[in-house]
Amino acid sequence: MIRVQREDFDAGAELNGFCAANGKVGGVACFVGLVRDYVGHDPTAGETVRAMTLEHYPGMTERQLAAIEAEARGRWPLEDCLIIHRHGRLEPGDRIVLVLTASAHREAAFQACQFLIDWLKTKAPFWKLEETSDGGQWVEARSSDDELAARWAKDGNR
């Protein structure tokens, strides 16, 4: 299931609900992405982010997330899968994204969870605008994210 929303989500409540719904399956893997409090990708660079705004492309976002979920379900024996991604203005420590996967095989749950977040970071149409003391700046895409996503193209199970 996918949810694209402006509202916050309760990661713990989502995890508990997901475990209860898939409780007899074996394992649940989870990733929570949170707003960092520093500019860009280097925590030592010094500058502090006050907030960020996540812009998205309504319609295409849901379409891409649904396609990414379908791809994961085709590649791994998943009992269930949930992606929640927020948009709008967020402050450091706020939750951005939640990915949950359940499988009888923990390795499948982990791989699908990593695949989902890697693809989401490189294919879902979201853009981060960081607010700093200088104003706002668009975050640049990272080549490391492309590399993490690319491994799934070469080999579905790594």
């Binding site: 492309y57 379409r63 989401l120 149409p125 853009w127 605008l129 668009w138 640049e140």
Partner: protein, 83 residues
């Protein structure tokens, strides 16, 4: 044809959305961009470096050779940074 611009492409073009009726020679993304660059300095700046521009036609990623026609929704945006 409905055009959408996101993130810094929106800032450069100066709007998030516009409806255009390109001439018949505009048959693919590439020729659409060439035509758009003539519409003003904002458009020209937005499309100055196509290596940092991604394109979606009807909400699916598309290459420069992807056909476009009347009624399509064509979106331009930088590489994504969600998650």
């Amino acid at each position: 044809m409905k055009l959408l611009y996101f993130a810094w492409l929106r800032s450069k073009v100066g709007m998030g959305e516009e409806t255009v009726a390109p001439p018949a020679e505009v048959r693919d993304v590439s020729s659409l961009i060439a035509w758009l660059k003539e519409r003003g300095p904002g458009h020209a700046a937005a499309f100055a470096d196509l290596s940092v521009v991604r394109v979606a036609v009807n909400q699916d990623y598309a290459g420069l050779d992807h056909p476009v026609r009347a009624g399509d929704e064509v979106a331009f945006f930088p590489p994504v940074t969600g998650g």
